[in-house]
């Protein structure tokens, strides 16, 4: 194989060739196995890159009158629409939570369990969830899933139609996957997904419909209609509060000791608007915990007084040594995202710190924010 043939082959059809060069290439390809293979690969890669992207729903525009007239707010319909469709799970969940604030009456503290939504082979939808048993005895489920559009929504429908019917069931995911008898359905519901390939929701199961929740339960996504398959499922551990057999001290009310945190003191405190913060100046919209499978998730960081055009320097300093990196640093520009703290936010990805069972302390512009993040198994 000669370099000249290499260049000709990699140029593809973009390089005009005279008849003599064309003839040379044809003869060379007949004789040279390597160049013939390269030519085949170039043809294949051109076809792969040319494959059309699946259509994505373009965020709808809201009324321009919804925002005051400022030049930058000329794009408000875009920004508001993006928020309206709940682009980011954390933003949507925070808004729902603050709209349905559950506070302890003192009679019984809230208890929260986080869980992963795992795909059931051969399906691919995954996500995370949180189950909170409120002081009133209702079960609040907050779920965020991502997956192929062909799983989460009905194909080629406008507006989107849900493909999932969600269930709260008694029993484990494994028992439902095996179709074991003797496990009951506690509640079922359907909700329109925000995107063809993404769904975030908050759903409240009334105390009246619940059992004591002291046995394992699961949040399961079945196909909507026709007795369809189980696509994804998340096991929810029991809410039993009796002390363990070892006699360990009972968990203080209001604090959830998650066994999967491996000693990571992740920030759970929120302010009145539901933003997780330690100093009141830097906050995280949504949770400070992610599964290591959620490496493609985006997290919203907010800062008091931030404006479009700002950039923050993020330093993630590992607590412990489970991850191969002790420090991850990069800068993030502000983007328009309406949150309880203002009009802009700083989205950053889980991926750079997405090592299983790793714990990170967040510094912003060189200052300790006090926020600790945990990436689970």
């Amino acid at each position: 194989m000669t370099a000249h043939a290499d260049g000709l082959i990699l140029a593809g059809p973009d390089e005009a060739r005279d008849p003599a060069t064309e003839l040379f290439l044809e003869e060379h390809l007949r004789e040279c196995d390597d160049c013939r293979e390269l030519s085949r690969k170039v043809g294949r890669l051109d076809g792969l890159i040319a494959m059309p992207e699946r259509p994505l729903p373009v965020p709808p525009r809201s009324s321009a009158n919804a925002r005051p007239a400022r030049r930058v707010i000329a794009i408000a319909p875009v920004a508001v629409a993006l928020v309206a469709v709940g682009v980011l799970a954390g933003t949507a969940l925070r808004e729902w939570r603050s709209a349905n604030d559950v506070t302890s009456t003192g009679a019984a503290a809230e208890r929260t369990i986080s869980f992963d939504i795992k795909p059931i082979s051969p399906w691919r939808t995954t996500g995370t969830g949180r189950a909170t048993l409120s002081s009133r005895g209702d079960l609040v489920l907050e779920v965020s899933v991502r997956g192929p559009a062909s799983e989460i929504s009905r194909p080629a429908t406008d507006p989107l139609q849900p493909n999932f019917i969600w269930h709260l069931v008694e029993g484990t995911c494994a028992s439902w996957e095996r179709n074991e008898p003797g496990h009951s359905v506690i509640a079922r519901w359907t909700l329109v997904p925000q995107h063809a390939d993404a769904q975030d929701f908050r759903y409240v199961v009334s105390k009246a419909d619940l059992d004591p929740m002291t046995r394992p339960h699961a949040v399961a996504a079945f196909r909507n209609g026709g007795g369809g398959p189980l696509y994804a499922c998340g096991d929810v551990a029991s809410f039993a509060t009796s002390p363990g057999a070892s006699g360990a001290t009972a968990t203080p009310p209001g604090i959830v000791a998650l066994s999967d945190q491996a000693g990571c003191p992740r920030t759970q405190a929120t302010d009145a608007s539901g933003v997780r913060t330690a100093n009141g100046t830097i906050g995280i919209v949504g949770d400070t915990y992610w599964s290591s499978a959620a490496v493609n998730d985006t997290v919203l960081l907010v800062r008091r007084g931030a404006a479009l055009g700002d950039t923050v320097g993020l330093d993630f300093r590992q607590l412990g040594s489970s991850a191969p990196a002790s420090l991850v640093s990069y800068s993030v520009p502000a983007t328009l995202r309406r949150t309880a703290w203002g009009e802009v936010a700083f989205p950053f990805g889980v991926k750079p710190i997405g090592f299983a069972n790793s714990c990170w302390r967040l510094f912003v512009d060189g200052t300790d924010s006090g926020i600790v993040l945990f990436v689970g198994p």
Partner: protein, 174 residues
């Protein structure tokens, strides 16, 4: 092409909000699909698309000619994508074996293509996507990005070579 170059300087200033809305309606879906080919997720693609239109509006004016208007948006989107890809490349952890994490069970070819594109120099990745996915000719890409046609062709040649290696690394098979 010569006629388009001569009209290059014509732009509209004092653009009304409704004009921006029209621009968005006309081009958002295409820009979003372009961004999705280069982005790590649908959310990241939406952010890139949003950033594109924010920057376009910050410019305060838009080209008169519809073709140039489209190229202008693609140019903004391409620069935004290159910036983002560069930032992401700084943070990418590649195992010492030299092979990246095996694709999840069920990763389809589209996912592998996106990962391979993100693994090659951003200028080459965007040139390949503009040429092959968006269907622009090398001369149009040159006009769009303000570089020479030879530079575009060089990016395509080098990009193809790097893509073949990257696609193999992410577990794809050509």
């Amino acid at each position: 092409m010569t006629e388009i170059r001569e009209a290059a300087a014509a732009t509209v200033s004092g653009v009304k909000a409704t004009d921006w809305d029209s621009l968005y309606r006309a081009h958002a879906e295409r820009i979003l699909r372009y961004c999705r080919r280069l982005a790590s997720s649908s959310d990241a693609a939406e952010e890139l698309m949003q950033e594109t239109f924010v920057k376009a509006m910050r410019a305060g004016s838009m080209p008169v000619d519809p073709d140039r208007r489209r190229w202008w948006l693609y140019r903004i989107a391409t620069n935004a994508a290159i910036d983002r890809l560069r930032r992401e490349r700084i943070l990418r952890f590649v195992p010492f074996t030299g092979r990246e994490q095996a694709p999840d069970a069920g990763s389809d070819e589209t996912d592998l293509v996106r990962r391979a594109l993100r693994a090659i120099p951003p200028e080459q990745a965007t040139a390949l996507v503009l040429r092959l996915h968006e269907g622009f000719a090398p001369a149009e890409i040159a006009e769009m990005l303000g570089i020479g046609e030879a530079a575009v062709k060089s990016r395509l040649v080098r990009g193809r070579r790097r893509f073949i290696e990257a696609y193999d690394r992410v577990g794809g098979r050509l």
